[in-house]
Symmetry: C2
Subunit: 349 residues, 2 copies
């Protein structure tokens, strides 16, 4: 087994705290395997922007490219105007490293409480994965405004969708669906209103689907999909959707599967031409930063996804199992960030 | 009291069935008041399109303008390609009649089952209203595609937002919040990514808010808002948001407040320069059409909104109370479309 050359972006707020626990678990699970984990931290985030005005310098981006994989905590702080760090760091990373598969599993683990009346609406459990497109759609930053600040202001946002971009993520989603027992893929869009983008997605799913005759497909408008996420989430296996719809439904998915404190994600470049990046779905939660209150579970599960991505399937499964066991034992007990990291790491040693 | 000159668009699928019950209730509640309800039906929908290729002829639109108010059932049928009737009838009606306030209340009534574990996540109940912008945003139809059907296809969708359009709906939402006991307004957008449109919305809420110093405001990104809709819906009072975000969150809102079978809506032109239109949030449900299985409650509650809009506040309240009593009595019993209409109408006679 090869060594792991990891770039770490702890970021802002609770980011550094949860990342520390993720690294603790990564060390624990790889210990004794002969693998050396070397990690380099980069200080992207609010502090750097406040001090220097820099978001993602080219030199840092180039260094990041030299790593196997990236672990990100969270970026964002009230001291920075909305959009600056998102459009200056998070989205440029996803775009520059061509993270076109934004993978977000939603699995309700035993012992975890859902806001849903699960026994009634999801008697067979919740276990699906959202493949969110990560490099196109309304996220391209292709908007503007004229007569800004006047009574005649017009502001636009352009969703850009290409056959190239849609096809590669749809093919990835089909392959993931094919590898799962249920082999079911749902396209979520709004093709009755966003007809141009919607029909591109729809045609692409139909055409790529011919390569995967054993995968059953379904379609839901995004509004209807959110209803089913609340009333019958068990129907979903793999969902493929655009960048903005994916942003929205993965937060609902996280909520129903036990909360944003547990939701992991991977920003994946399946070609391997640039490092993939793993991060909890939650934000930097500045209100609880530095208090040891943040739940590092989402970051630890992101580390499991990272291991899976590196082909270290056994270790990924061991981390997941350790988290599952910890959640079952934890119940509603409140433990500190490091206590949770320790508990999971202990199970791996 | 003046007479009610109503245009009715029964539409497709279950539309005619539920509209019939809505009219039954309208007759019942106005009976004895000296008001004459005259209604004219127009056959817009799939059948007309299949027969003539027409969606919304100018002549029909002109006739609709001559009415006080419009009641719509549902439009849509599998025989018509996706987008044709939406972009040919539903959205042109909202745009031409300048329905800039798309009003969608979400109230969990006693006896109604929610998919949420309500006792845990909404102990104080669910009672909020979404003011969805109805004439702008990604719904303007300002998209296109080039190299369509090739490997080089590019499809765009443009969200168009104006200060004029945002300001008028924001002001309406503030006024609604001011008239409610909690006086709380939440703006839902995604201004960290859709910075141009988002900042227009944000600035507008700040500026218009100065006219409503007694209304407290909050902001949620759309993804976070969906989490709170699942985990803490009681926090919301009035929500104001754009056309697409509003489409999505009102379906979640409907789901958590007991289902799309109960969700009413108003497409309102507050200036009175064109008739407002009331419709259930649900679609035409072709799979159960003609079987007397559809729940007309959403249409009946839309009739209550229609009455409220016409200033007939007492009658609106009586319809709502009759529905509430019926829902409490109904429990999980399955009744036919007309049985529900009869039961509500009987309570009003
Ligand atoms: C912070 C923001 C830019 C980001 C997004 O919208 O993608 C976040 O919400 C997420 O889901 O990862
Ligand atoms: C049918 C469709 C055009 C419509 C919309 O997206 O507005 C519907 O979903 C609604 O919410 O009224």
């Amino acid at each position: 087994r090869t060594d792991i050359n990891l770039a770490v972006l702890p970021g802002d707020g609770i980011g550094p705290e949860v990342v520390a626990e993720g690294l603790k678990v990564l060390e624990a699970v790889t210990a004794g395997s002969g693998t050396k984990v070397s990690s380099t931290a980069y200080d992207l985030g609010a502090q750097r922007w406040n001090a220097t005005g820099e978001t993602l310098p080219d030199s840092v981006l180039e260094e990041l490219r030299g790593h196997d994989v990236i672990l990100l905590g969270a970026i964002g702080d009230p001291s920075v105007p909305s959009g600056v760090l998102e459009r200056g760091i998070l989205l440029p990373l996803r775009f520059a490293l061509d993270h076109y598969v934004n993978l977000r599993p939603a699995k309700l683990l035993p012992g975890v409480e859902s806001p849903l009346a699960v026994e009634r609406v999801a008697p067979d459990g919740i276990d699906f994965v959202v493949v969110r497109e990560g490099t196109e759609g309304p996220y391209v930053g292709n908007g503007g405004s004229v007569r800004t600040g006047t009574a005649h202001e017009i502001a636009t946002e352009v969703s850009v969708n290409t056959r190239f971009g849609v096809e590669r993520v749809v093919r990835d989603a089909f392959a993931r669906a094919q590898a799962r027992p249920r082999r079911h893929l749902t396209l979520v869009h709004k093709h009755n209103v966003l007809t141009h983008a919607g029909h591109l997605w729809r045609r692409t799913v139909e055409e790529v689907g011919a390569e995967f005759p054993d995968v059953e497909t379904a379609y839901q408008h995004v509004d209807a999909a959110t209803i089913f996420l609340a009333t019958d989430p068990g129907r979903f296996d793999v969902i493929v959707t655009d960048n903005l719809f994916g942003d929205i439904i993965t937060d609902i998915a996280a909520a129903i599967a036990g909360g944003i404190g547990l939701a992991a994600s991977g920003n994946i470049n399946p070609t391997g031409e640039a490092p993939s990046m793993f991060e909890p779905v939650h934000g930097s939660a500045p209100d609880i930063a530095g208090q040891g209150k943040a739940d590092p579970t989402a970051t630890i599960l992101s580390v499991a996804m990272l291991l899976e991505h590196l082909g270290r399937t056994d270790e990924a499964a061991r981390v997941e199992a350790a988290v599952a066991a910890d959640l079952l034992e934890r119940g509603s007990a409140v433990r500190s960030t490091s206590a949770i990291g320790d508990a999971v790491a202990d199970r791996l040693s």
